[in-house]
């Protein structure tokens, strides 16, 4: 059984078919890239996957369970975590507190137990502290734990968003243009981070990206979108030589190498 199964997914915004009849699957431990020209519906699909939007038609299954009708905050319980195209951190909170928010949905102690500082509070908070430090150490951010998130450099902010998402223990991590605004060396570091996510946390990754170096470098499979529909699916080599994909990107048949690498 696939980890994520998307079946005939559509969403219409007053006649605009932003996503139309999209189906794909993601297996456990896979790194899948979603590419396509601007406005192809990539971020819309992410918003559908995390139940920010409700689909007009179609259904999404995570490990065979339908996500239909679940509120957005419950998606973490189902095993989905995401990052955002424009970084969304809790900027006035410390780096480690940002990560700890990721543990929130696992929190068991009640408000009363917190206010009266009863043993469950101490036990859980100690556990969170250790686990958050562990995650920050794995991603090489241990020494920044007590800084306010807004003081971090750009690349580190992107990384912290991934840390926060990982803290919620997802089975599938959705990354929305993680390399956006990064230079070549930062992108290289990001690729290592994404591999780390897969190897250390056994998390599948679905990422939207325009940076072809990154996409071709780490994705095992690609999904190409155009005008809200799936144009092609397959391994990177196959997709790169697909004449339809080239037409969508360049407007006419051209040199396949124009796609990068």
């Amino acid at each position: 059984m696939a980890l994520l199964e998307v079946k005939n997914l559509s969403i219409f915004f007053q006649g605009l078919k932003a996503v139309h009849d999209v189906s794909f699957e993601i297996a456990e431990g896979e790194i899948v890239g979603m590419i396509g020209p601007n406005g192809a519906g990539k971020t819309t699909i992410f918003n559908l996957l995390t139940n920010v939007y409700e689909p007009t038609e179609g259904e999404i299954f995570v490990e065979g369970k339908s996500t239909l009708g679940q509120p957005a905050y419950k998606m973490v319980d189902m095993g989905l975590a995401r990052t955002f195209q424009n970084i969304r951190l809790f900027k006035d909170m410390s780096v480690i507190d940002n990560v700890k928010v990721g543990f929130h949905h696992k929190g068991r102690y009640s408000i009363a137990e917190a206010v009266f500082r009863l043993p469950p509070y101490w036990r859980e908070e100690q556990l969170y502290e250790e686990r958050a430090e562990e995650i920050l150490d794995i991603f090489g951010m241990g020494d920044m734990a007590n800084l306010p998130a807004r003081n971090l450099p750009y690349g580190a902010q992107r990384k912290l968003e991934i840390c926060r998402a990982i803290a919620s223990g997802p089975k599938l991590l959705l990354l929305d243009e993680p390399a956006c605004g990064m230079n070549a060396s930062e992108t290289q570091e990001l690729m290592d981070t994404i591999r780390l996510v897969k190897d250390r946390f056994h998390t599948s990754v679905l990422l939207i990206e325009h940076d072809m170096n990154l996409v071709m470098g780490i994705c095992e499979r690609l999904i190409v979108l155009n005008y809200g529909q799936v144009l092609a699916q397959g391994d990177p080599e196959e997709v790169r030589n697909n004449p339809e994909v080239i037409r969508a990107y360049l407007g006419s048949e051209g040199d396949p190498n124009a796609l990068g690498c």
Binding site: T50, V52, P71, A72, Y73, K74, M75, V76, D77, A81, R82, F84, R88, L89, F90, K91, D92, M93, D97, K100, V101, G102, F103, H104, H105, G107, Y109, I111, A114, V115, F116, R117, P119, Y121, W122, R123, E124, E125, Y128, R164, A165, S168
Partner: protein, 330 residues
């Protein structure tokens, strides 16, 4: 494990407990020995009531990031509920009646907070400001026209139970409650909602639930302040709890810094004492407030403390800095 926890608690909180006790002993001994006259005593109680109010509004506005313009309304509900209870329960010992009255006042304010919060927070945007503004007006009109609230004449003959130990106890309760709530997983969830509600929700925080809970707590603490106020004044008039009073409280929060408890406490002290000291200029009080706010927004838009707190770490660091500078000079 539990032993380690107990040790941890002692280490963490012993200094705070000692400081709070010392503060109480200091002021109480000044009152008992008669160093402070009755006017000063009254001012101290008023300052503490305003500190509770400011802390409670700071919770909704500073920590949750929602503008509430009808806080005096919640205070009024707490005040009238407690006063009506104690007036109708003369057979209970006064201390016990007062305590139950406070609890009832808090619960009643909380219920109203819930009734307002649930519909308001289902919408996204600044609807709460408009709804609470209307709520504040409606409450004062209701109080004026209901049969059991004394109407426009007000409610008089309330037993004056509020003395320094009561307000100090209530203040410590409020402070400890807010600190313990905010420095926990639930507090982090509340802050995350303020910082970015979309990211909070995709991190698994139930945004609507936390907004409603925080708002209900904020209303309950305002009700606590109201109950204390009713038994401090001895009489209640509906005009006291109008729009201006809500704005007064908001001014204190903004002045101290939205999201800073230290700032709220400091602002409540300054903005209660300054107008009282300028008694002769009472008619210029609102002018002063306005001027103060304008100057504040120009020179320190985040309030005196911004979102910072006065903590032991901060004191330690500042002490080291000053000592370092002395050594350099020497």
């Amino acid at each position: 494990m539990d032993k380690a926890i107990r040790k941890n608690i002692l280490k963490k909180y012993s200094l705070n407990i000692v400081l709070l006790l010392l503060g109480f002993i200091l002021i109480q001994s000044l009152i008992v020995t008669g160093v402070l006259n009755s006017y000063a005593k009254q001012m101290i109680i008023l300052v503490f009531i305003n500190m509770i109010l400011t802390l409670s509004l700071n919770m909704a506005t500073g920590f949750l990031g929602e503008l509430c313009l009808g806080h005096a309304g919640f205070m009024a509900i707490g005040a009238y509920t407690a006063a009506i209870f104690t007036k109708n329960m003369p057979m209970l010992p006064p201390g016990l009646a007062f305590f139950i009255g406070i609890l009832l006042g808090m619960i009643m304010s909380g219920v109203f907070g819930f009734l307002i919060g649930v519909p308001a927070f289902r919408l996204e945007g600044d609807y709460l400001a408009i709804i609470t503004l209307a709520f504040g007006q409606i409450i004062s009109i209701f109080i004026r026209s209901l049969p059991f609230t004394g109407g426009a004449l007000g409610l008089s003959g309330i037993k004056r139970m509020t003395n320094f130990p009561w307000v100090y106890g209530a203040f410590v309760f409020t402070l400890v409650f807010i600190i313990c709530l905010m420095f926990s997983g639930h507090g982090r969830a509340i802050l995350s909602v303020r910082e970015d509600s979309i990211a909070a929700s995709s991190s698994g925080v139930n945004v609507v639930k936390y907004k409603v809970i925080t708002f209900v707590f904020s209303a309950m603490l305002a009700g606590l302040a109201g109950a204390l106020y009713a038994h401090f004044q001895g009489n209640l008039v509906p005009t006291k709890f109008d729009y201006n009073y809500s704005i007064d409280i908001m001014v204190m929060v903004v002045f101290g810094g939205m999201g800073s408890m230290t700032g709220s406490i400091l602002a409540a002290i300054i903005l209660t004492l300054v107008p009282a000291l300028l008694q002769g200029l009472a008619q210029y009080r609102m002018l002063l407030y306005a001027l103060m706010l304008i100057l504040m927004m120009i020179f320190r838009p985040d309030g005196v403390f911004g979102r910072k707190e006065l903590t032991y770490d901060w004191i330690r660091q500042t002490y080291r800095k000053i000592r370092g500078r002395w050594k350099e000079d020497a």
